[in-house]
Amino acid sequence: MPTLPRIRSVAEYYGPRSRWAAAVVLLVMAVLLGKLWHLQLVLGESYEEMSQKNRVRVVRLLPSRGRILDTTGRVLADNAPAFTLATVRADLEDPRQVVDVCGPLLGLAPEKMRKAVEQSSSVPRFLSYPLKRNLTLEEVSLVKSRTGGMKGLVLEVKSRRFYPLGQTLCHVIGILGEISAPELSRSSHMGYKSGDLLGKTGIEKQYEAYLKGVEGWEQIEIDAKGRQLSGKIAKQPESGADLMLTVDAALQQYIESIFIHRAGAVVVVDADNGHVLAMLSKPGFDLNLFSQAISRREWDELSRDPLHPFENRAIRGLYSPASTFKMVTAAAALAEHEVTEGHEFVCKGELELGGQVFRCWNRYGHGRVSLRKAIVESCDIYFYHLGLRLGVDRIARYASLFGLGRPTGLGLPQELPGLVPTSAWKLRTLGESWKDGETLNLAIGQGYLVATPIQIAMMTAAVANGGRLLKPSIVKRIQAGDGRILFDHAPVVQCTIPLSPEKMDLIKDALVGVVYDGKGTGRRCRITGIKVGGKTGTSQVIRHRQRTEEYTQVPYHERAHAIFVAYVDNLPKRIVVVVVVEHGGGGGKTAAPLARKIICKYYGLADPGEPEEVQESGSEH
């Protein structure tokens, strides 16, 4: 009869089994200890010897980072070797000799040198501790020849970034920096190790995955003296892909040389494919400062500068587009049939609305004003009337058709979207309903409306190319180390502005008038022989100021920003130039001549200089 264990006591049933199990446990543990005995006590000495000799180390081979080139193939960011003299504590036999010999070679005071050698005990004794970074080539050869037999000294070669043009395009290219803890945990699967460099801003950041390359590894054997006996590359590193930008470095350098103002931005784009040909943000900084160890003082100077030299104003500077926005208001009014070519409004210099007086920049008034005259002479009253007819939300809709209020998608990190106000937006964020007076401000590009220079450039390009809003691009081609083309830019049309070609030509004709008419506000951009369209803008920084004051009498930070947009109409390659001079006063006066020089340089024309009949007028738009 089968007996169930429930009837038997637990100890009776499981006792013997548990003793068997104990025997198994003891046996297995004995086997493990036997193996350890064999490894540690029998073979211990030979393994000890192996670990002494065993300097078969697996060393990472970092790939060389992809280069950044301009549109003509000129190198903007390259790699250069950087030498560091380091010491390994475990191998260091005579620290005094190191101090005595290396100090003078490197031009370091004995005190400093001794301190550095003492500091090396702060890292694990098998790891190297840097004594001096960025050795010059002479220092390298001196150290090599004089310290031949010295133990515990290593000359480490690392690749560092080198920017042949220094400050040129610093915001676009961006800087590299050591990987931070959060970045490390986010991207550990990509093979980054603590201490690695990666792109922190600009192209270097945005295209990190392309530029980085694939690391390899090498097995190196070192003898007891720390000398490398052999090296076997187990996996070759693959260098990163080269990036070719759309930017023309020569044009960029020319613009840098003529932009003498303290702060501002210049953007030059190709109106037909969206290529960014130049992008300047001022003030800037020298990229090479960051690829070597930047000194504390230099860093403080840059980061405390009230003009924020690290900001790329071309994609992050928010300015009221001011009168340059009038082309959008005009397009909206024409498309929505709120105005015709011949319709005229009377400008008496001011317009009263709801008890408030809205002025034209010309306090004496423009008289009877048609669309063309309104754009050419930048009459505010005319656009106030258009604004009242259109209303805020229709203007806002056309503003976003022209690409305002959202990032252009240029492919640089941290681009700002700007702002296109609507009545719903105001209710949502400020809790107030929209007022008609604010519509008047919006119609002339002031008030809540802000845009970045690149947005203003794409808006102008949409007019210049007949109504296509393009996505700007700054990278033309990405080519892998083995020659494969990974990316080749093709123009992307984001939307088409619903305006008939005849009406668009009306606006374009008026913009040409801005530059070529006698009373045009953009006369200083006049270039004979080609056809240039333009629009001035004066972006007010504070609300109201007495008009009679000379602009030089106003404190710098209260002066208006000068904006000028220009495009070339009748040449096969049509470019758009946007110039923003912060606190530069009138757009026609400060910004327009810069645009003229840039256009002349681009097409290889002689600069005709300022037209002679220009009279000084206090505050033109």
Partner: protein, 374 residues
């Protein structure tokens, strides 16, 4: 059991628990010191790991203490639900898990990452204990009586194996087999089970090309000949053996292991923690740690022997077996006795899920021992 009785019995119970708790504390302490040494070359990041491990140990102690207030028979009632939860978590890890080193074994829960396969081991132990407590009908279970428990084990095993985590799947299989044998099986069942396992292994061998990942095949090949690919898969074993062997009788001293500090050793604070210990503390250190583990297993088996009922006995035995197989496979792996499979060393290896599971296993042993008279 009345409250009064529980008050009366408290003193003897707590006294009985102390040796096991002390052994666990000693092992975790050694583990923390070794992790500190192993991660020293990493600088600040290494210290963060030590602090994290300390937190997990503290959490484990709290969990253990709380668990002791409840009668372990709750586990018997809850075993099926724990089992279902474990299977669901394993499926979830497959679906939404985090991919680390090519395998999906992590589940992100708020601030922490959990490894469901670790907890699945415990759930399977409880489920098997519940199933096997009725005991075999004859002088030992016949083959057909083992079909249900076999199915219960194979489902989570397959889920773990496809993550892929062959090491943990292997541990689950070994723990389950140990428990079945402990519960009693007939000769024919042993023969049949052996035949089934042999058949399965043959099938795996034949179909290895599409069953095993590339790295697993390499590891198996390397096991049979470590010099086969000294820089690839064999690198781990060779460097680990050099580290252990060069430790000699008394070791190179704390923080002085050149293999460790020069970072020759891979994943040294997790799976290869024992190599670090062996290099810096020598045979003496290894002997101490293995003696502590052996004492813990012996105590666990004594608990299984003296338990009040079959469930308690089987649960205590299962938990002991789980720790035992972890130690055996891990130490066997780093010394080159078994292939590199990636099984952590209980209490010593870095890793929250492994620490919590190990503490819970000891908590079950203590719990069963505390209630053996009531």
């Amino acid at each position: 059991m009345s409250v009064f009785q529980s008050q009366m019995g408290r003193l003897s119970r707590v006294r009985f628990a102390w040796p096991m708790i002390l052994m666990v504390l000693a092992l975790s302490g050694i583990g923390l010191a070794t992790i500190f040494s192993a991660t020293a070359p990493l600088g600040q990041a290494g210290r963060t790991l030590v602090v994290k491990q300390m937190t997990w140990c503290g959490f484990g102690l709290v969990l253990m203490s709380v668990f002791l207030f409840f009668d372990y028979h709750g586990l018997e009632r809850w075993a099926p639900w724990l089992y279902v939860a474990a299977v669901v978590l394993l499926i979830a890890a497959w679906g939404v898990g985090k991919v680390t080193a090519g395998s999906r074994r992590w589940l992100e829960i708020g601030f922490m990452r959990l490894q469901p396969s670790e907890f699945a081991k415990l759930a399977i132990v409880f489920m098997l204990a519940r199933w096997l407590q009725a005991g075999p009908s004859g002088s030992g279970s016949a083959l057909k009586e083992l079909l249900v428990p076999a199915g219960l084990v194979v489902l989570p095993m397959v889920l773990v194996a496809i993550q892929p985590d062959l090491g943990t799947a292997g541990v689950i299989g070994l723990v389950a087999a140990s428990m079945v044998v402990f519960g009693g099986v007939g000769r024919r069942a042993i023969a049949g089970g052996g035949a089934a396992i042999a058949l399965a292994l043959t099938l795996v061998f034949v179909a290895r090309d599409w069953l095993l990942m590339e790295y697993q095949k390499k590891r198996l090949a390397t096991y049979f000949n470590p010099d086969f690919d000294p820089l690839g898969a064999g690198y781990h074993i060779i460097q680990s053996q050099i580290a252990i062997g060069s430790g000699g009788a008394f070791g190179k001293g704390f923080l002085q292991g050149s293999q460790t500090q020069l970072m020759f050793l891979p994943v040294k604070h997790t799976d290869f923690i024992f190599s670090v210990l062996a290099e810096e503390w020598g045979f003496l250190g290894c002997l101490t740690v293995l003696a502590l583990f052996t004492l813990l297993f012996m105590t666990g088996l004594a608990v299984a022997r003296k338990a009040r009922d079959p469930f308690g006995s089987l649960a205590a035995f299962g938990c002991t077996a789980m720790l035992f197989w972890h130690v055996t496979i891990n130490v066997g792996m780093v010394t080159g006795l078994v292939p590199v499979v990636g099984v952590p060393l209980s209490f010593l290896s870095y890793g929250g899920s492994s620490i919590l599971t190990s503490f819970m296993a000891v908590a079950v042993m203590v719990n069963v021992s505390m209630r053996r008279f009531s």
